[in-house]
Subunit: 361 residues, 2 copies
């Protein structure tokens, strides 16, 4: 594996929970990390706590991670890319929970969107930990113009922070996080809202709040400040999912009201079975194989191959690009779990790729 950041220098912009944790993780990897924050006192605190090595930008850095709130991310990424004299190899990425605004506004081969699916109820620098991302899924959103070399390097950086990179189309990401993150957060806040109203007229309510209620409302304790912007940025997917959930709840309400026991049992059994099938955590692959895909001049190969792998739930453990002597062509080498490797090979052959599966040397 080549070193993903040859200069050994990185910049983290925005030193909150995620930015602080990334800075700590990169420093543990031996990188020299510069950091900035719109709140200069926060940058000073990060420096004092040893989370960053210096305050400010670093034009020689080959990695710039923008960890600012959703409302600011497009502007800041734009500024970073517009700064002259950056390293020609620079990779710019972000951690925003909604990807479409960036993919719509930023068309620069140096930028690849990202979203680590990790967090904490502890806010800001106090919650920052180098191991925040261990075992977490870290979405990367390659586009048809994404540079395969940069993608391979960024994927390796994410892996070294302990996370599992997962390639997704930006629009797919936004639609899916509405279901697994944004709407659940709104539901948790709604439950807590109802409990507060109930407790106001009956003090015993909160004494009845057992483990299940606590589990369901835990995410509602998270930083409320980040959510209005996330909701605004992902309004279409969130309202669509909310409409579906409201529709489901109407159906359930009618079943309860009508005493439709068999309808309720069907619905609840299906959900119970599905929840039991959800693995407690991502399983690490037992046996790895190497999938080689010939990269031609056809655009979008990197995005296509990696998102097909994600859709088939094939975990890409490592990704390398071996360039041929001619520019543009080469071989994409994906280290993947053996389990669904033949499915992925077949899917890629059907899409017209030349590819082979090999045992790992």
């Amino acid at each position: 594996m080549t070193e993903p950041v040859d200069s050994g220098r990185a910049v983290v912009i925005g030193l909150g929970l995620i930015g602080g944790s990334i800075a700590l993780g990169l420093k543990e990897q031996g990188l020299r990390v510069s950091g900035l924050d719109v709140d200069h006192s926060r940058a000073e605190e990060a420096l004092r706590l040893g989370m960053i090595d210096a305050i400010g930008d670093d034009l020689s850095a080959e990695l710039v991670i923008v960890c600012v709130p959703a409302a600011a991310v497009v502007a800041i990424v734009g500024e970073v890319l517009a700064t002259e004299d950056r390293s020609p190899q620079v990779i710019v990425t972000d951690v925003c929970g909604v990807k479409m605004p960036l993919s719509g506004a930023i068309h620069d081969v140096r930028f690849i969107g990202g979203h680590p699916m990790a967090g904490s109820e502890q806010l800001g620098l106090d919650g920052a930990r180098a191991d925040l991302f261990v075992g977490a899924t870290w979405v990367l959103t390659p586009s048809p113009t994404t540079d395969a070399t940069r993608y391979a390097k960024l994927s390796s950086i994410v892996s070294k922070l302990g996370a599992m990179p997962l390639a997704l189309d930006a629009a797919d990401h936004d639609r899916l996080v509405a279901v697994v993150s944004h709407v659940p957060h709104l539901l948790a806040a709604t439950l807590m809202h109802r409990a507060v109203i109930g407790a106001a007229s009956d003090g015993a309510l909160l004494q009845l709040a057992a483990g299940g209620f606590r589990d369901m409302t835990r995410v509602a304790a998270g930083d409320p400040a980040i959510w209005p912007e996330l909701c605004a940025a992902n309004a279409v997917a969130i309202t669509a999912t909310l409409d579906q959930v409201i529709g489901d709840l109407h159906e359930l309400r009618d079943m309860v009201s009508a005493g439709d026991r068999s309808g309720l049992e069907r619905f609840l059994t299906a959900s119970s079975t599905a929840r039991r099938a959800l693995p407690a955590k991502q399983e690490l692959p037992k046996s790895l194989v190497l999938l080689k895909v010939v990269v031609t001049d056809r655009p979008g190969i990197l995005a296509d191959v990696t998102t097909v792998a994600s859709d088939l739930q094939v975990n890409v453990v490592d990704l390398q690009i071996a360039h041929s002597v001619e520019g543009g062509a080469g071989v994409l080498q994906l280290t993947i779990d053996e389990v669904r490797s033949q499915d992925l090979r077949r899917a890629l052959v059907e899409r017209g790729y030349r590819c082979t599966l090999e045992a790992l040397a």
Copy 2:
């Protein structure tokens, strides 16, 4: 403290997760426990596992705990009470998650409704543990005709199983559990339902399901078989709460759709603050005092005093009844947390009770 079960014998009817756990807990207290189940092989397994000492009823038992599903509980409690030659001191209780059907159907001084707020995703006898109730709230539903001596004994039994007894009016209980348990369960099942539909068209969805989603859907894994009956038995409160939640979600949907950031931030900040204020677990009282209430012939004193305490969030650690020589009169002695003890005393005096607060001997 007098021994709550003088005969040292108890009967548990229905040997599932809750019944099995109660049987184990009572045996740990040194009681001889007989057990029955409509599925005789289950009773045999409980006997083989040492959860019960004998299969069958025990007319000499002074405690009968009915742990059958909601659909059967009224009939079984009725049968238990109708059996001739029971111990004259017998206390009959149940563990059903909805209390109004029982309180409407059973009018017998020997019966006091109960609901331990504990559970497990493990179903049946496999999940049974003597410590399942440690730290849990165990609701008791005294009525105006409840016998104070029996209530005091049952409260003590619940405490010895590690739970904290909480007196609630049956109708209040049902209204409150709709908010903190029944509707949250339906929301968790709905989220899981949406995730299953999303995952069918996009395999990556479940890889995005991070800790928050797992927390929110955990209860959906519980036994789906018990829920249709609970929903039917508590249909009025559940549909009312679902209507309120649907109304809240409509408001949130409109705020998201309109980009109303300040409205969203207000709503989410209030929920975040409330969730952060929810104690991680019930706090044990630091200092205890004794509240003595004179019991006259006025009916409903026990139910009134204990539910006023619950409403003021006063934890009743122990409850005794000292009878005077005349029948019916006596002194109710509540061992309570000092913190809100003066509030409780004042509330009871306002309601016309004669009561005093004393330091514990």
